[in-house]
Symmetry: C2
Subunit: 439 residues, 2 copies
């Protein structure tokens, strides 16, 4: 066996404490699997006195995480502080600059500075591993970096935020509103006091940005992502989805199109019988469509132990001397992605309209859709029950929402059709438009 | 970049031809990802003249695969001939003996000689990679070897044979018999002319043996697997499963119990809302329950391109200089598994009985179950519809099968109860007993 691999960990919160605990638990087995003894020799966090429920015996306490990052006593710097700014950023930069391998779970940091950090790692010839940064315990980075290296990837998409999936799952099961569900999720610890980052889709976008780079060999381009969260989802949308054979998930989706790379985060209708539709509660899932294989990976996207599992795998790879470029190819080979405009997006749509209570409204809607060459799979009017494949003008008297499921069309056509309905004066309120993702 | 990695491929059938084709297609991108040029320099198969639809320009043709295995012009030997015997075995042995890294998709060979081959690889310090041998295009070996190395694994199970899954899926969807379905599968190329290896569970057992070793650090022990195939499954079983909230899958299951390692292959009831229940047709799935994460991986278990994807990933790992021990730990650290006797198996059961048409039969059955401390979740009699949570003696007049779903009990208790019913003379024909796997 080679020398001990000496690990320094900055951040002993939910993830950091689990890493220390699980590494102690696996101990010899981990070293045996990695072919080399692995030891946490130094740690850093804000408050030294906090009881973290872990044994820190034999580990040096270093006050300043940036000092730890360049400490001559460590080979690997594990950053589990979080945040796109300092001290996480400065610490990771310092560690790479000092030629230390780095492991981090910090999606915010990587989504913002991923390319620059990868360049630093490459320059020093050290690993920059971030399995835990996307989908927590699911080994999707390894799968993209190594497992699917023989493939050209066409699309990668997934449920990347457990909080949103928990809320949408409960809203669907219990018919409760977003607001009530969010409150409950906060009470149960599944959502933060400030939920914006999760429910408005930013966390999903950070993870998606990393998946996109890995899948398509592009520079990390968080700004190229179109982002919608789940606040606008109403119980009626989930009920209609169920009736029409779908579930609603907040997805991050990246795909290669003729126009470039399309990256989007939004609530999505997914067919009930798809693998991803079965992924409920806080679970995450990632689906990868490639030329030789289509894969779906399902597992825990967060939680101390699950995330620590990914961090430990990254450390073990370094112990083994395995190093894959952060974004698979050398940074110089990564291309600036052309952003496919979302107006070019092609797919089916769920459209829920509040309409004026007047005869002929449904006919008007159907004709506006037809004018824009949008074929309808179904029109449903809540009071009169589902009417498939046609309109039922008589039912338009009821002051009820009209729900449309379209066949594949473009986002631009949908927007045009909705604008003309608005001009017609048939719409009350803002239409709810949810994209359908084929599986 | 380092020197070119020179690859020799023996076997240019379904998988081998796809490997050659996909490697040519990926070409520079693959080399870039692996940090090193990779080139197929020599190939071998039985008939040189066969049109394989691939370009073999620039590759030497070597008649004898064993000569290719030790050819001084190659660094990696890729064995895609198949079969546990020669020439595959001899070729792989020769290659390892000559210090070549080996990649193989040959589950039969590894299930039979895996430990011995791993020992050879270890002695020479070369890779023995076999991602394609289990679940085709799903990167489950890498996930176990590397991705989950921080975990203690408790159970690994999966749908590992696409032929069986295809047959069971169609039987369930269309209500047709095993025999008719098999014929159709053969006609469509989803089943071999001699289907024994697939439908009787042996192929699943080979793959399970490898997963067990990886998950539990044990020597490959194919003989320790209890194997039942799917021939005995009747449409009525699939119909009852559906009514009771289950689907039927041929699973390979390995779990750590107090008595040792339990390894079994058999048709299984899985809850309809589990991820694995959604895996239909020729798809495969592997679920891994570990202490820090539970994962489910779904994807193509066979097919030229999907399998080639795994082979190419194995080759790329070698190009990168990544080497993990074949069964994670050094062979000397692998333990001989204690076989947990299946009579100790604990779980729920589906039991379908053909019973004599006599009042009191159902009561008799229920009391025999009770005597053996088996609690029933439901008793269903086909003619009288489902009766949950109790027996309905009046309904026993109908000459219909009785279906029981038990709560967790032991295999031994079930066998005892069935023997006493047999002694009571209430049974006609052989009971159908299908284990339920909790998700
Ligand atoms: N939690 C998850 O489930 C999960 C999943 C995937 C990825 N991640 C990522 O993992 C990282 C860590 O997340 P977490 O949930 O473990 O966070 P956390 O529980 O808030 O822990 C953060 C840790 O960093 C320390 N810290 C904060 N500011 C510091 C400073 N200025 N100097 C030194 N130490 C400082 C804290 O010290 P004190 O303890 O002394 O306050 C704490 O130990 C984040 O990047 C997050 O995005 C988390
Ligand atoms: N097919 C799948 O979907 C799949 C999936 C997972 C794993 N695998 C595994 O992959 C391996 C290859 O499977 P396959 O489906 O590609 O098999 P295949 O189509 O039957 O191809 C076998 C190849 O080996 C060659 N071969 C046979 N005997 C030989 C001998 N004595 N000397 C030299 N060459 C010989 C054949 O040559 P000719 O072409 O000249 O006859 C043929 O090219 C097997 O271990 C299988 O279990 C297959």
């Amino acid at each position: 066996m080679q020398d001990i691999l000496k690990v320094g960990i900055a951040g002993l919160g939910t993830v950091g404490a689990s890493v220390v605990r699980l590494m102690a638990k696996r101990d010899n087995l981990l070293s045996e699997a990695a072919g080399r003894r692995i030891k946490v020799v130094a740690v850093s966090a804000r408050s030294r006195d906090k009881d973290r429920g872990i044994v820190l015996d034999g580990m040096r306490w270093v006050e300043d995480p940036i000092a730890l990052a360049t400490d001559s006593g460590i080979d690997v710097f594990v950053e589990l502080i979080g945040g796109a700014g300092d001290p996480a950023k400065q610490a990771v930069e310092a560690a790479l600059g000092a030629g230390k391998a780095v492991v981090t779970a910090n999606k915010a940091l990587l989504a913002t500075h991923g390319t620059a950090l990868a360049r630093r790692a490459e320059k020093k010839g050290v690993a920059l591993n971030f399995e835990a940064a996307v989908a927590g315990g699911i080994p999707v980075i390894k799968t993209l970096r190594e497992g699917l290296v023989g493939n050209a990837i066409e699309r990668v998409y997934g449920i990347l935020n457990g909080t949103c999936n928990y809320i949408l799952s409960r809203m669907a099961d219990e018919g409760i509103s977003f607001e009530d569900c969010l409150k409950d999720a906060q009470r149960l610890g599944y959502a933060e006091a400030d939920p914006t980052f999760d429910v408005d889709g930013f966390d999903t976008a950070h993870k998606l940005a990393l998946l996109t780079s890995l899948a398509f060999g592009t520079l990390v381009d968080t700004k190229g992502i179109s982002i919608e969260g789940i606040r606008s989802i109403k119980p009626v949308d989930l009920k209609m989805a169920d009736e029409l054979g779908y579930r609603v998930k907040l997805l991050g989706v990246a795909l290669r199109t003729a126009d470039g790379v399309e990256q989007r985060v939004h609530p999505t209708f997914v067919p009930k019988d798809s693998a991803i539709a079965q992924v409920n509660g806080v679970l995450n899932a990632v689906a990868i469509d490639a030329d030789a294989v289509d894969l779906t990976l399902v597992g825990p996207g967060a939680g101390g132990d699950a995330t620590a599992s990914a961090v430990i795998a990254d450390i073990a790879d370094i112990a083994r001397g395995h190093r894959t470029a952060p974004f698979i190819r050398p940074v110089a080979s990564l291309t600036q992605p052309t952003r496919a405009p979302l107006t070019h997006h092609e797919g089916g749509y769920y459209i829920r309209l509040e309409v004026v209570d007047r005869p002929g409204t449904a006919a008007r809607i159907a004709s506006r859709m037809a004018q824009n060459k949008i074929s309808l799979e179904s029109i449903v009017q809540r009071r009169s029950g589902p009417v498939r494949g046609g309109t039922d003008p008589a039912a338009a008297d009821a002051p009820a929402p009209v729900v449309l499921i379209t066949y594949a069309t473009t986002e631009a056509a949908v927007q045009r059709a909705l604008r003309s309905m608005d001009t017609d004066g048939v719409l009350l309120g803002r239409p709810q438009v949810i994209r359908i993702e084929r599986s």
